[in-house]
Symmetry: C2
Subunit: 197 residues, 2 copies
DNA sequence: ACCTGAACACCGTTCAAGT
DNA sequence: ACCTGAACACCGTTCAAGT
């Protein structure tokens, strides 16, 4: 009943193909290299064919963002408590960002679908209930952690391996240590059991 | 001795003019509307004249970022302690970001000159010494706070007043409350006097 | 229904030329 | 030294046409 397509030419490409090709180009050549003509070329199709599957370039970018967020793996052990669940969310999100460094500015800019965001946060939010945290407070903590992870990743990949005047190139573990310190501080601040001013 | 320009046609525009015009366009029409032709038009000059003062469009963007960061006002009272100095830095930086919402993605993407970043952080770092915090730890705290402020601002201005499908439009104080909670957590986490896990 | 080539209105940037 | 118009090699997107 739904979407019963009768007759007509069978499609050469799908919406998913377009999104996958876009991600491949971003990863390989960077965000600036992502053109409608380039996506078409990668799929062996004219650029104009893409408009049959997505309304415009912005829609491609939005779809890329949601696809990448969906691919985040949040590994929350069964016996994890609220602080550890927050940490697992942060680590999983950061892993995805560093796997797609050229896409980080996109993730920072394009809003994520509500459903996709909920699915990402769900494992952590589950543990907040067990810890007796109010729903609003839990959401605030999750969003704050995500925002820190994103901001930190932007700083880390901010001068991508394309710029000529890359600063002395921070030592290997520099960003990891900074990330851990910042995340620890935030999680500690959010999960302390209400003490003084 | 230095830069003694003798003879030649006097300049109609300066590098500063280009940067100021760029910021005006970004604030008024958004980042996408910032074109070399547009900047030229605003200054009553052909687009190609700009290349006499800045090497290319990316250089304009970099200059805009550094100009905006320079304009941040960090109000650290004379008797402020380390945690309050961190807070003042966060508030001042956020104020600038929300004054230039269309420029936030730029601030998130373009690296800031080392000198400009140092000047921004200096007042807070001063107070860290008085508090007996190690220099490295102080820098980590400052950078983490900045990264949180930036990430939060991205979330707040992420769906700018151009998008049609703006979500229910979060209630007025929503982002302010989230910001305060996240900042409090981070500052508390960074300034606690080293207790157990 | 899906794909295509040609065309339009833009970009950033280069170049040779003007004053 | 500084500014300019014309031109080049790109963009995203629309349109009328093909199968």
């Amino acid at each position: 009943m739904t979407g019963a397509r009768r007759g007509g030419r069978p499609p050469l490409i799908s919406r998913d193909d377009v999104v996958a090709a876009a991600i491949a180009i971003i990863d390989a050549e960077g965000l600036d290299a992502l053109t409608m003509r380039g996506i078409g070329a990668r799929l062996g199709v004219a650029a104009m064919s893409l408009y049959r599957h997505l309304p415009n370039r912005d829609a491609v970018l939005a779809a890329v963002v949601n696809r990448l967020v969906t691919e985040v793996v949040v590994d929350v052990p069964a016996d994890a408590r609220w602080p550890d669940a927050l940490r697992a969310l942060a680590l999983g999100y950061r892993e995805m960002l560093l796997r797609h460094p050229h896409a980080v500015p996109l993730l920072a800019t394009q809003p994520v679908d509500v459903d996709t965001g909920m699915a990402l946060a769900a494992p952590a939010l589950d543990r907040s209930r067990a810890a007796g945290i109010g729903a609003d407070d839990a959401v605030t903590a999750v969003q704050s952690v995500i925002v820190f992870v994103l901001g930190h990743a932007l700083a880390q990949v901010g001068t991508p391996p394309g710029a000529d005047d890359a600063p002395p190139a921070a030592p290997a573990g520099y960003y990891d240590r900074w990330f851990t310190a910042g995340l620890d501080a935030m999680i500690h601040g959010f999960t302390r059991t209400g003490d003084g001013p």
